[in-house]
Amino acid sequence: MAVSKPENVTKASERLINFEVMVGPRRVYVEITAEAALDATSEALAEERDQGGMHKRAIEAVASDLDGRIRETIDKELQQPGAEDVGDAGLRIHLSTLNVPGLRPNEAIRRAKEIIAKELYPDEKLEDLRLEEVELNDEGNQWLITFGFFRRRQVEVKSLPSYAGFGLPAPEIEHRVYKRLKIGAFTGKFLGMEMIR
């Protein structure tokens, strides 16, 4: 898929630079930090610093570095439920640096904790809820955040007469369960949860 030269380059703030590229028929909005731009183009910048071409050159260099990543990201993001359409089949992608996806690790952990406690188990007190594992998947587009907590489960005791017959509640065992949440690394969206052993 062909990736065009950057267009509509703007500075969103002192730190953020926005630009657009066409990836095949799709217009993609990219947001990167100025540091990432500088980092990617330090050699180019050394030559151009005094010639006023620094900004444009930096953006072009970053865009060409990002071509492969943009293509992969678009393909993957489009398969995710709720990909953020911004009109004309465009897709907004935020790349805060060249190597790190949009959501910082602690932001992803906070987001995942909020989702598990408030959205997935709003009526349950999750006993000893703890962060157990943090991973960025191989594609770099999903945070995999694992939490552990205790749950009580009623068990049936087959060797004894029914507890109900004695007016006793069924015995309970406490066991620790582990849930892995997938959080979109660019969008912060909750993409799913799986139980792991």
Binding site: T97, N99, V100, R104, P105, N106, I109, R110, R130, L131, E132, E133, V134, E135, L136, G140, T146, G148, Y178
Partner: protein
């Protein structure tokens, strides 16, 4: 770096272990070494899942232990992963720091490790599992390895529990 203070609950978590030898698992040792060389590595490459505050906490935790322990397998993994992230003089610094860090290296012959353990967690983690004893504290962020060591009645702290405390403080 010296201005950073460990939150009380993190200090409490490690208080009972001060006299033990400290064994850092690969990812945690990599964080300690690479972030010391170049703080901008945190949040990128092999350290993409960490924040700088994680490094600061780890650094202060390690200062409380006088006896460190490592294994050739951990050192090999750290060198392998670290070499992907840093090159040139920084890579040389990585080796220098590893030389300074690596207190006694210990290993165990594969022949005495259980085949079940080897096939389940691999060589490096099987050696860690076998080396952990009453006098050793393991810090790892591998949930499975932490569980295995804890179930054997040995001392382990999941570094993610520390991160959880840091986030809440």
């Amino acid at each position: 770096m010296n201005e950073y203070i460990l939150p009380g609950p993190v200090k409490e978590l490690f208080k009972p272990h001060r006299r033990r030898r400290l064994l850092l698992d690969t990812n945690v040792l990599l964080l300690l070494i690479l972030a010391k060389i170049d703080a901008t590595q945190v949040g990128r490459g092999s350290l993409s899942k960490y924040e700088y505050s994680d490094f600061l906490a780890l650094h202060l935790i390690c200062e409380n232990f006088s006896a460190l322990l490592t294994t050739p397998h951990i050192l090999t993994e750290v060198c392998h992963l670290g070499s992907k992230d840093v090159e040139g003089p920084k890579r040389t610094m990585m080796y220098e720091l590893l030389q300074r860090h690596s207190a006694p290296e210990q290993s165990i012959s594969l022949s005495v490790l259980g085949l079940r353990s080897l096939s389940r967690v691999g060589v490096a983690d099987s050696v860690i599992e076998a080396l952990c004893d009453r006098d050793t504290l393991l810090i790892s962020d591998d949930r499975e390895l932490c569980g295995i060591v804890a179930r054997r009645g040995n001392h382990v702290v999941n570094f993610n529990h520390v991160r959880d405390i840091l986030l809440g403080s």
